[in-house]
Amino acid sequence: MQLLEFQAKELFRIYGINLLPSIASTTIEEGRKHAKELGYPFVIKIQVPVGGRGKAGGIQKCQNDDEFELKYPQVLDLVIKGEKARAILLEKMADIKKELYLSLFLNRSKRCYTIIASPEGGVEIESVKNQIIREVGLGEVSEQVAREVAKEMKLEGKTADEFVDILKKLAKLTVEKEAELAEINPLAIMQDGSLIALDGKFVTDDNSNFRHDELQKYQEKTEIEERAEKSGFSIVELDGDIAVVGNGAGLVMSTLDMLSDNGGKPACFLDVGGGATTESVYEALTLISKMTRVRGILVNLYGGIVKTTVVAEAFLKAYEDNVIDLPVFARLKGTEAEKAKEMLKESRTKIFDSIEDAINAAVMGIKK
């Protein structure tokens, strides 16, 4: 899961990484209380799980009550890259000398953690110059390695000492919470040479959730995602109007691509998974029926372990119970496909021999 800035900072604080005073709120009433506690001037920061907040106007300075009353509701109402505000963070203003970049991330192809540090932070990682890259195995960072990185960064005195301290703490946090990415950008050098984490990004490995009860409070799931997880399939909601259902993540992604190539707009990615049963597929169809934007369903199955007849049965049941009254375009192949086609012949499902034909029919059918 990807934590919001204020959640990442909660972890930073627990691990002793220096921060400015800050408080998160979700209503202006709470915000007013926090404004009094913090005192002006401070910065209002929208909490969304995407970057580019500054450019979108999601970070605003406040000098007094009037500015606060004006800006808080504005920022709270922003939608950035389709994401609504989860909270608003008020953070004290800082007198910064310089901005650095520091992160630890899981280097997938090298199968090790990697430190990326740069004396020129404050911009997105793709634009960070003079990157210092250091591979560190399973993630532990020794005093010596941290010192070497600080030296390469050309940091000195108190700043160097604090950098070493922060890097070691960030590594400990990364290892203990099983993060895929822990980023401080910018890591600010203050006028007195001390270091402060001004922003934080933290992405954990969902597959290790069972070992981390303490992180569950950060879990953000829609009702649909929660129900999908319970039933053992995976779903990603998208903003189009054709629901895409299939078995296997690769096959469903491939179907999304082909649909988009043909001018269709996917409403969701739904992988029924290797353990699909009639019940779980029925539940999947129930969830799709709740998505108001969906105007048609595209099904692409390659039956291997999952029998296509199991899926066909779920569709028949969903038609019978009036769960689904949308047009359905399907391509079925693999285990028991002939039997599944026979089962669906008399139903509202339109069956096609190739996925290309099913997609064309779906795109045309929805346009009408």
Binding site: L181, D205, N207, S208, M253, S254, I305, K333, I355
Partner: protein, 305 residues
């Protein structure tokens, strides 16, 4: 480099040549027993099963079950194991197998924590063992040996190697290849996790020297840079056999996990554009649809004739 064919086929003259023994860890579970049966039907020589507490019993009245991998290895002499345990028990099961002398470990479970995978790979490295997966459909030499969960229908013996991150796309594309007359010499499932025991580049190194190899198909997807690394390697060594790629996930939104734990684009890291452009640099055409793969492969073969 591990000779994967030696591991899967054995040596001519040996008593187990072309019938190498395979141990199934988790053979009595619902998933493990289903696929143990399917592998036996395919002709894979399943010589032992492992389920703690069920030692002494027999699977399907034939395959002896042991409490530990060590006992199974001692009794059968096998050095290949396929693991079906739930994800949270994978670390223990895999360590046990590697310490018992398993040299090829096929890791089926999905949802294994990355840290556990990395610990297993660390040990495998020390023990000089190969891990395929986790979250892999497995590995097979069609018509000879199937160590995995793939259905048999899409595959037929031949001279094309297929390497794939995705399971169903491996079936889909192998099916299309088979129908176009391209049988497969070997298929290797890389797995959909962020960290893979056998990366695309490792799998490539296993197959690149097959003497009668006629072509290679690489089935990638968004996430990580395994495809880019492979494409660069192909450029570096000047591999000339006809190669075609397919990349799933072009239309996927950024920062969202698309079903597989590894299928996520972070910033530009893992994007489809990056992979497609690297393959293009390596003069490897990238199919837009699975059904296009055999067409492009036939085109490549004509060029190289």
């Amino acid at each position: 480099m591990t000779d994967i064919f030696k591991l899967l086929r054995g040596n001519p003259g040996d008593s187990d040549y072309k019938k190498k023994g395979v141990i199934v860890q988790g053979i009595t579970g619902a998933y493990g027993s289903l696929h143990a049966k399917s592998m036996i039907t395919y002709g894979t020589n399943i010589v032992a099963g492992v389920t703690p507490g069920k030692g002494g019993q027999k699977f399907e009245d034939k395959v002896p079950i042991y409490n530990t991998v060590k006992e199974a290895v001692n009794a059968s002499g096998a050095n290949i194991s396929i693991v079906f345990v739930p994800a949270k028990f994978f670390l223990g099961a895999a360590k046990e197998a590697l310490e018992a002398g398993i040299k090829l470990l096929v890791a089926i479970p999905e949802h294994v924590p990355i840290r556990d995978t990395m610990q297993v790979l660390d040990l495998a490295n020390k023990m000089d063992a190969v891990v395929i997966g986790p979250n892999t459909p497995g590995i097979m030499i069609p018509d000879l040996i199937k160590i995995g969960i793939m259905p048999p229908m899409p595959f037929t013996a031949g001279k094309i190697a297929v390497l794939s991150k995705s399971g169903t796309l491996l079936y889909e594309i192998s099916d299309a290849l088979t129908n176009a007359g391209f049988g497969q010499s070997i298929t290797i499932g890389i797995g959909g996790d962020p960290v893979n025991g056998t990366r695309l580049i490792d799998a490539f190194n296993m197959i690149k020297d097959i003497s009668d190899l006629e072509g290679l198909v690489v089935v990638g997807e968004i996430g990580g840079d395994s495809e880019e690394m492979l494409a660069q390697h192909i450029i570096n060594i000047g591999f000339k056999k006809p190669t075609v790629a397919y990349i799933a996930g072009r239309a996927a939104p950024k920062e969202k996990r698309m079903g597989h734990a590894g299928a996520i684009v972070m910033g530009t890291y893992g994007s489809a554009e990056s992979k497609v452009s690297m393959f293009n640099k390596a003069n490897i055409p990238v199919a837009k649809r699975p059904s296009q793969v055999p067409v492009l492969l036939a085109g490549k073969m004509q060029q190289s004739d």
